[in-house]
Structure formats: C-alpha cells, structure tokens
C-alpha cells in the first residue's frame, strides 16, 4: 500500500481518523502475530505525507505515533526482527504516547487557542510625502555632487601642486604597475582602479592615477569609466 492507495481511502474516513484507527487500517493485511514494523512505519509515514498533501490538520499524536514507529523500526532492524502482535503494539504505543504527552504542555487546539493577530498596516503615501521625498532627494543628491567635487578639488589643491610628474623612478614604477595589472587581469577582462591601491589615501590615489594615465598613453592598458566620477575599469591595452 503506497501513498497513492492511501489517498484513495475515502476522504471522510481520513478526516478525524485516530492514530489507533490508522494503525488498524494499515495493519489490516498483516498477520496479527507477525507485524512487519518496517513496512508499517513506511505506510504510516506515507499516510502522514498524504494528509499533508491534502492540507489536513495532522494531530500531534499522529506525529508522535509515527516517530515512535520509526524508532521501533530502527530497533527492530537492529535486533533483526522482534516478534510482536497488533494488540501488544497498540499497548506499547499507547504507553509511549501517554508518557510523551505527560512531559509536554497541554495540547493546543489552534482554533480554540490563538491570540488576536498582529497586523502591520502600511499606509499609502500622500502627495505631501512625495513632495517631502523630493526635497530630501534633492538635498542628498546635491550633497553627493558636492562631495565628489570636493574630493576632486581637494586632491588638486593638496597634491597635484606638489606632485612631481615623472620623477626618477617613474619607469620602474610603471613597469611594476604593469606587472601587477597583468597579474590582476589573469582570467578577467577588467580590473577596478581601486584594486591597484594599497593604502588608498589621496596621495596614493593621485600617484596611481597618473601612472595609469601614462600606461594608457603608452597603449599598455585601456581605461573605461561608465559613470561620471565612478570607478575606472582597466583592461589590457592594444600594445600589451
């Protein structure tokens, strides 16, 4: 008897069927003196699954019964078959269930025992909200723009002024940077400008940026910037 056949049991019989009733039904074709606990456990689980598929409420006792059957099945498999009979099985189950139930809080019937439900109603937004949102958005976007401009102009004032273009070690630095970029690019099409930074301070950023410009001019690498003031994506140049 598989889960399909269980579903074929008239629905009105399944509704409200007690765990004892289910056991009787599932063992009806077995020798009462030789209950196959492995088969029974499988059938019982299939019944539960069928009830679940039908969206039936599954009483806690049926779940307990099933878990006990599974435990008995594993015991039986370990002991290679423990003779039992239908009535004895029922007694044993009943005792086990009473014991389990006694340890638990009293059964809760969902219908009878459920608190009023909490809602988190969300209100629709008003024109006034939309208007305030616009003011907020404008303020934030202005700040964003100012921040970006500030950061660029700060760098120009503080650093470009004192920056020595080139310098003695520029070719060495360019060579080592090309090596680094190639390593970072292995298996990739692009590498972010930020990956080239170690400390990430303004001075390093400007220095790297100028090196990147040099390498771009030499055709060693190519740069794209999709977004204004956004990240610079570096790819292999035509010369490399």
């Amino acid at each position: 008897m598989d889960s399909l056949k269980i579903v074929q049991v008239p629905v009105e019989e399944l509704i409200g069927e007690s765990w004892e009733g289910t056991l009787r039904r599932l063992t009806a074709d077995m020798d009462p003196w030789d209950i196959d606990i492995t088969l029974l456990a499988r059938r019982y689980r299939a019944t539960l699954r069928a009830l679940e598929d039908l969206s039936f409420v599954i009483p806690g006792r049926m779940v307990v019964t099933c878990s006990i059957l599974l435990r008995m099945k594993s015991d039986a498999l370990l002991a290679l078959g423990r003779p039992t009979d239908q009535e004895g099985l029922l007694d044993e189950l009943e005792a086990a269930i009473d014991e389990t139930a006694a340890q638990e809080a009293p059964p809760i019937d969902r219908e009878e025992f459920s608190l009023p439900l909490v809602r988190r109603p969300r209100r629709r937004v008003t024109l006034q909200d939309l208007r305030q949102a616009l003011a907020g958005a404008m303020k934030v976007s202005r700040r964003r723009a100012e921040r970006l401009i500030d950061s660029v102009s700060d760098e120009e004032e503080d650093l470009f002024e004192h920056f020595e273009l080139g310098g003695e070690d520029i070719s060495d630095r360019l060579r080592s940077l090309v090596g680094k970029i190639k390593r970072l690019l292995s298996g990739r099409r692009f590498v972010s400008f930020f990956r080239l930074l170690e400390r990430g301070d303004k001075e390093e950023r400007v220095r790297r940026f100028i090196e990147v410009l040099h390498l771009t001019a030499q055709g060693e690498i190519a740069c794209t910037q999709e977004e204004f003031l956004g990240d610079i994506l570096i790819s292999r140049g035509e010369e490399s």
Partner: protein, 175 residues
C-alpha cells in the same frame, strides 16, 4: 439635523474607519476625537457604537474591540482559523503561547514552577504575557504567582479557566 451635519457625520464615519484600519494598536478615543477635528468623546462613542453595530452583520469579517478607553478593529473569532496564515506577523510566538497554555492549565501557577517546566526563557515569556494583559503576577514569597486575567478569558471566548482545562483535555482526534 441639517444636511451639512449628515455630511459631516458621513465623513467622520469614513475617517473613523480609516483610522482604525491604519493603526496596529488599540487607539485611544482621544486620538480618534482629534482625527475628527477635536470632536467630543461622546460623539466618538456614538460613531463607534454605530460602527460596532454595522460590523455585527454576519457578512462582515471584522469586529470592534473596545477595551478601557481604546478601540481596535480585529478579525472575528469565527474567521480567524481561515485567515490567520495570511498575517505575516504572527500574534504571539509559539513558545510564549505554550507558556501561557501551561499557566492556564495549572492556574494559578508559580513562576518558579513554570521556569522549572519551560526553562529560563519563561521569564521573558511571563513579561510579554503581562505586558499583553493576559497574565497577572502576584508576589508570593520569593516567586510570583501567575494568574490568567479576565482579558485572557475574553480573548479566547472562555467562561472560566476550567473551561480551558476542559478543552485542553479533550482528545485531539475529535478536534
């Protein structure tokens, strides 16, 4: 009553429904009065009364819960079973509900006995249940004696705590 009064009353009833729909907590009559533009409490009561009457019709799924000075809309008990699963913020967490069930079942129950049975989390549960007005603590020596409240009975539509015990002991297979 002039036709303008009728119009005002109509608008106020709509505002009352909107206010009750939007709040997630019981709303004081004073707040409702201010929503209606500084109306009198008596007037608010009249409108609440009317609303409660309309909600009593069997084709309505909500009811007006009046408690102390507050009002709140809630799903009728007869409908809860079919729709509870739709509420994303489930009422009381299941462990808290279990502690409540235990208190009701052993009513009155000492907090120490509850903690013995349910573990240390039960202290938090008691606090939550007291805040919700479902449990009333009474000092008793070094522990608290926990009672369920009238509010508890009303919530579950019970006459007495014994009735809960009776329900709890009924075989589940009959449910």
């Amino acid at each position: 009553m002039t036709s303008e009064d009728v119009d005002t009353r109509t608008r106020d009833k709509a505002l009352l429904e909107a206010a009750l729909f939007l709040t997630e907590k019981p709303i004081p009559r004073k707040t409702l009065a201010s929503v209606l533009g500084q109306a009198s409490i008596d007037y608010v009561d009249q409108l609440l009364e009317e609303l409660a009457g309309e909600l009593a019709a069997p084709q309505r799924g909500l009811e007006l819960l009046r408690r102390g000075d507050t009002a709140q809309l809630q799903v009728k008990r007869t409908c809860i079973g079919s729709v509870a699963h739709l509420a994303p913020h489930q009422d009381v967490p299941r462990p808290v509900l279990r502690s409540l069930a235990m208190i009701a079942y052993n009513h009155p129950m000492t907090q120490s006995a509850l903690v013995k049975a349910r573990g240390n989390k039960a202290y938090g549960h008691v606090q939550e249940l007291v805040e919700r007005g479902l449990v009333r603590p009474e000092e008793k020596g070094r522990t608290l004696l926990l009672h369920v409240t009238d509010e508890f009975l009303r919530y579950f539509g019970l006459e007495s705590v014994e009735e809960f015990r009776f329900h709890a002991e009924a075989p589940t297979s009959e449910g």
